[in-house]
């Protein structure tokens, strides 16, 4: 009874043709949606700026982010009385340039966000594809595991693991990457379950195309849209998770400039130097907000029925 339901559902949002058509039509639909959606345009522009700042950080940062100047501690941003020349957004408790630290923090946040998302995306997509295509005991085992992981706030375990292993950028990426696979696996599995009974897959199988080939050439392009959508939204979640760990002092080593770490330091000096925490917080907010707006737009394109 489920076959007809699945076909109509997929048919409504995806073209029936296999291969790259699905992918390019998704890109086309995104372009059209973007042309109509003013808010998403702004978000994409901000996002591009943030990424550029992340990539070219060392070139645009006016100072070395860890260079201390104890004669210019806690200086305010340039528009306030008593600012130190050369420090646009002021200095922190050790006289380090806040603007440069926010710029370098962008690099760390984006690195963790993208790397952890890629890792969990690859794990999740592979598992989802294998579970949906082969079903059987593999499917049962991993979907149970997904249930277990969903019924528990994994950030708590990530916290303990990172705390115990010691602060390290790579541990943070590994732990966040290893715990983020569930949403991909579930969605990709559901897509593949409905795709595998479609004509082009049956035809490919009848022609003797191997399972791996079917998954790579025929299924992968068709799960592209949900994959990109979840991935985009997850980057924001990963950035917040990294910032949370760093805020608690459990993420990357304290010498590395991170937005979360700056917020924690800034909180200690909130009464005398609000700029330390506010600018790093604005960095987080701009990034997550623009990613979420973009992701919502992608989701509307990929699945017009899900407007939650």
């Amino acid at each position: 009874m489920s076959i007809s339901a699945d076909t109509t559902m997929v048919g409504a949002s995806e073209p029936v043709s296999p291969g790259l058509v699905a992918r390019s039509s998704f890109a086309h639909a995104v372009r059209i949606a973007l042309r109509r959606n003013k808010v998403a345009q702004v978000a994409v522009v901000i996002l591009i700026l943030v990424v550029l700042v992340g990539i070219f950080g060392p070139l645009i940062a006016p100072h070395d982010p860890s260079a201390q100047d104890l004669t210019a501690r806690l200086k305010p941003p340039f528009w306030l009385h008593g600012h130190a020349p050369g420090h646009l957004l002021g200095t922190d408790n050790l006289g380090r340039d806040v603007l440069s630290r926010v710029i370098y923090g962008t690099r760390i946040s984006l690195l963790v966000g993208v790397a952890a998302t890629l890792m969990s995306g690859v794990i999740g997509a592979l598992l989802g594809m294998v579970c949906g295509y082969y079903r059987g005991w593999v499917d049962t085992v991993f979907m149970r595991l997904a249930d277990i992981q969903l019924s528990f706030p994994t950030i708590l375990l990530a916290l303990v693991i990172v705390a115990v292993l010691g602060p390290s950028l790579w541990f943070v990426i590994l732990v966040l990457g290893a715990t983020g696979w569930v949403s991909y696996a579930r969605v990709i599995r559901a897509e593949v379950l409905s795709l595998r009974s479609r004509e082009f897959v049956t035809a490919a199988r009848a022609l003797g195309v191997s399972d791996l080939q079917i998954m790579w050439r025929h299924l992968r392009p068709n799960v592209f849209a949900p994959l990109v959508t979840i991935g985009t939204l997850q980057i924001a979640a990963m950035i917040v998770a990294e910032a949370s760990l760093s805020y608690l002092g459990l993420g990357v080593p304290p010498t590395v400039p991170t937005w979360g770490g700056m917020l924690a330091t800034g909180q200690l000096y909130l009464r005398s130097a609000w700029w330390i925490s506010v600018f790093s917080g604005v960095g987080i907010l701009l990034t997550t907000l623009s990613i979420n707006v973009t992701g919502d737009m992608l989701r509307d394109v990929a699945d017009p029925k899900a407007y939650r």
Partner: protein, 328 residues
């Protein structure tokens, strides 16, 4: 399908046979079993993670401790026994609600946690009240005035609420209300005024989520035929929204509210840390920085029990309210 039908035709012989055939009982048992498995996994992962870090005993001792001091501590903590024996002892203890001994506080970990629990419950309750008071009117207004300026501003606020990490919300609130306006305390506990900022910080994300869900659920319902009928009968718009619309839109929202209670209780670590709120979340961070590993293990498991337990209760209540859930 056929198997179930034939099973139903056979007469029930025993009480267990009856129980096995009741979908509700099967549903409850399945959910209970799942909850136990989750908790078992969390307990196991927490146990082994803390031990792969190397030697917890070395981390506990001050620099320059003698070998005999190390041996005494190791023995008193039971870390000189084989790993598997430690693990089994730990699991056996859990069955008797023995969460181990806090090294830092020198008392049972459970007692330390239970001391902190009232603060966490108070904060979670206040956050929930805040979330509901904000989200219900916001969701209704935005669904009724769909597509207009009010709706857009509510949805923009929802997006900001969902994108801002709790610690930044908290810091901004402290900056505005404690540092600049000096009307509310920045941290600690005490009277009602101490509760306001932490509750807003913790409840903001839930408020955004509930408002968003209520809006989309209400928009769905308001488009249905029975609403058109009610309107056509000449009922007042307010009556249609409250009596016909809200009642039908409430069920998915109630589920999410229930699940949010679990996250509010189990996920208050950041908010508690921002406001130095003496709850279980702050205790977890303290235990981590004190390297009090038995206590870390206990708090993680305890928060997991609260989270899983609340979700289980919500699921069970939901199954009683909506028969479709347990039959699916």
């Amino acid at each position: 399908m056929a198997a179930t039908a034939s099973a139903r035709l056979r007469p029930t012989r025993s009480a267990t046979g009856f129980l096995r055939r009741s979908p509700l009982v099967m549903f409850l048992l399945k959910r209970l079993l799942q909850a136990v498995i989750v908790l078992f996994c969390v307990a196991t992962v927490a146990f082994f993670v803390i031990r792969i870090s190397g030697d917890p005993v070395k981390a506990l001792l001050p620099e320059g401790a003698t070998i005999s001091q190390e041996r005494t501590l190791r023995h008193s903590l039971g870390y000189d026994r084989p790993l598997i024996v430690q693990y089994l002892t730990y699991l056996k203890g859990l069955l008797h609600l023995d969460f181990g001994q806090s090294v830092f506080f020198q008392q049972p970990a459970l007692d330390v946690i239970l001391n902190r629990l009232p603060a966490t419950i108070r904060l979670a309750a206040a956050a929930l009240v805040f979330a509901l008071v904000v989200a219900i009117p916001a969701g209704i207004v935005s669904a009724v005035r769909r597509g207009r300026a009010t709706d857009s501003s509510v949805m923009a606020a929802v997006l900001v609420g969902q994108s801002t990490p709790a610690f930044f919300v908290g810091i901004v609130l402290i900056l505005v209300f404690a540092v600049e306006l000096r009307v509310l305390p920045a941290s600690g506990t005490g009277g009602f005024e101490h509760l306001i900022l932490p509750a807003i910080t913790l409840g903001l994300y839930s408020a955004a989520m509930i408002a968003r869900l209520l809006r989309s659920s209400l928009i769905d319902v308001l488009g249905e035929d029975h609403i058109r009928t009610a309107k056509a009968k000449g009922l007042s718009p307010l009556r249609v929204i409250f009596a016909n619309g809200l009642r039908n839109a409430a069920l998915p929202v109630i589920t999410i509210v229930g699940l949010e209670i679990g996250s509010l209780l189990g996920g208050a670590i950041l908010t508690e840390q921002v406001f130095s709120w003496p709850g279980v979340g702050q205790l977890t961070v303290q235990a981590i920085s004190n390297r009090d590993y038995p206590l870390v293990q206990a708090t993680v498991l305890f928060l997991a029990i609260v989270f899983v337990g609340v979700n289980l209760i919500v699921d069970i209540l939901y199954a009683f309210l909506d028969p479709r859930v347990r039959l699916s």
